[in-house]
């Protein structure tokens, strides 16, 4: 799961994850998506850029 807040500054960034993922997978430039979502500090931006979702892989194991 995406962390609720940015590790460094504490801003809630998890609310931006779903839209970010959708638009990035649709081929949009991550830079522009992040700008659109209002994440201006590089600490918050790296939270989304470097995240890898693994919960779905864990579903079978409960």
């Amino acid at each position: 799961m995406i962390p609720v807040r940015c590790f460094t500054c504490g801003k809630v960034i998890s609310t931006a994850w779903e839209e970010f993922k959708e638009r990035r997978d649709a081929g949009e430039d991550p830079k522009e998506v992040l700008d659109d979502l209002g994440l201006e500090r590089y600490c918050c931006r790296r939270m989304l850029l470097t995240h890898k979702e693994v919960v779905e892989d864990l579903f079978p194991y409960q």
Partner: protein, 276 residues
């Protein structure tokens, strides 16, 4: 001491504090971060959790959700009339009961007091698969950022010195500093260089322009000097949504005032003088 706001809304504030010592600026910053109380989930009773996250991870994620806090309704549990057992004056209670497959959001947390609802509605808490469910009860209490970061009302709260840029007469207008400035503070001005109007506060005091000026071969002294104005600070305060920024600033200042009054009282007690 003077405060001039450049920008103020519910979530963010930018202001210039002038006529203050660096010590006072830091006291204000620290008070805003760690002394203004807010609500955050502290105790979680988990009845059922068949999700892929462990109970403690789930509880940690719940704790980080910012909750709207009305400090006129809630007080700290310590010294509360209920003796720490938990009553509506010191505790906000939430229930959550979701069955998969779907994602659990902060809006699924049902507050007993609608005024203490989560500040953001679409924070994903956990993703549930087929036949997975989460049933829990959570209690939020008042605390301060001193104890745990989840009780901080601010995010990215800080200040910097007010920049003062001086351009000497021997500037030959070569433009090296303009290209070097990462914040776009400088611009060419008929054979010299000037600060772009309204951009002075963007200066990060990195002094790359001074270095670029020296590298241009102007001599031993650069023609541009970056200094700071004494006693002037640019503050940026951002709220996590638990309360408006103006309230955070006000409460931090009240805290500083109360602490200094208390100190005066103690000192007077020791010296035997009567307070004025």
């Amino acid at each position: 001491m003077e405060i001039a706001f450049a920008h103020l809304d519910e979530r963010t504030a930018k202001f210039v504090l002038s006529g203050a010592t660096p010590a006072f600026a830091n006291v204000l910053r620290r008070a805003m971060i760690s002394e203004v109380p807010t609500l955050a989930i502290e105790d979680v009773r988990i009845y059922d959790n068949t999700s892929v996250l462990f109970d403690e991870i789930l509880a940690h994620r719940l704790g980080l959700i910012p909750l709207k806090t009305d400090l006129s309704c809630y007080g700290p549990r310590e010294g509360c009339g209920c003796g720490g057992a938990g009553c509506p004056v010191c505790t906000a209670t939430y229930t959550l009961s979701v069955e998969g497959p779907r994602t659990v959001y902060s809006s699924d947390l049902i507050p007993q007091d609608p005024n203490a609802a989560p500040a953001e509605e679409n924070i994903p808490i956990v993703e549930l698969g087929e036949d997975q469910k989460v049933v829990l009860e959570a209690q939020a209490v008042i605390g301060t950022g001193k104890e745990h970061a989840k009780w901080q009302p601010t995010v990215a709260c800080g200040y910097k010195n007010y920049p003062a840029i001086r351009i000497d007469e021997n500037c030959d207008g070569c433009g090296m500093c303009i290209d070097e400035c990462p914040r776009g503070v400088l611009a060419a001005d008929s054979g010299s260089v000037k600060v772009v109007e309204g951009r002075l506060e963007s200066c990060s005091l990195c002094r790359l322009c001074e270095r670029a000026c020296l590298a241009s071969g102007i001599g031993n002294e650069p023609a541009i000097h970056i200094d700071t104005e004494e006693g002037r600070f640019i503050f940026v305060v951002e709220s996590d949504g638990s309360m408006p920024v103006s309230e955070i600033i006000e409460r931090a200042l009240q805290y500083v005032q109360k602490r200094s009054d208390d100190l005066v009282e103690v000192v007077n007690e020791i010296t035997g003088e009567v307070a004025e």
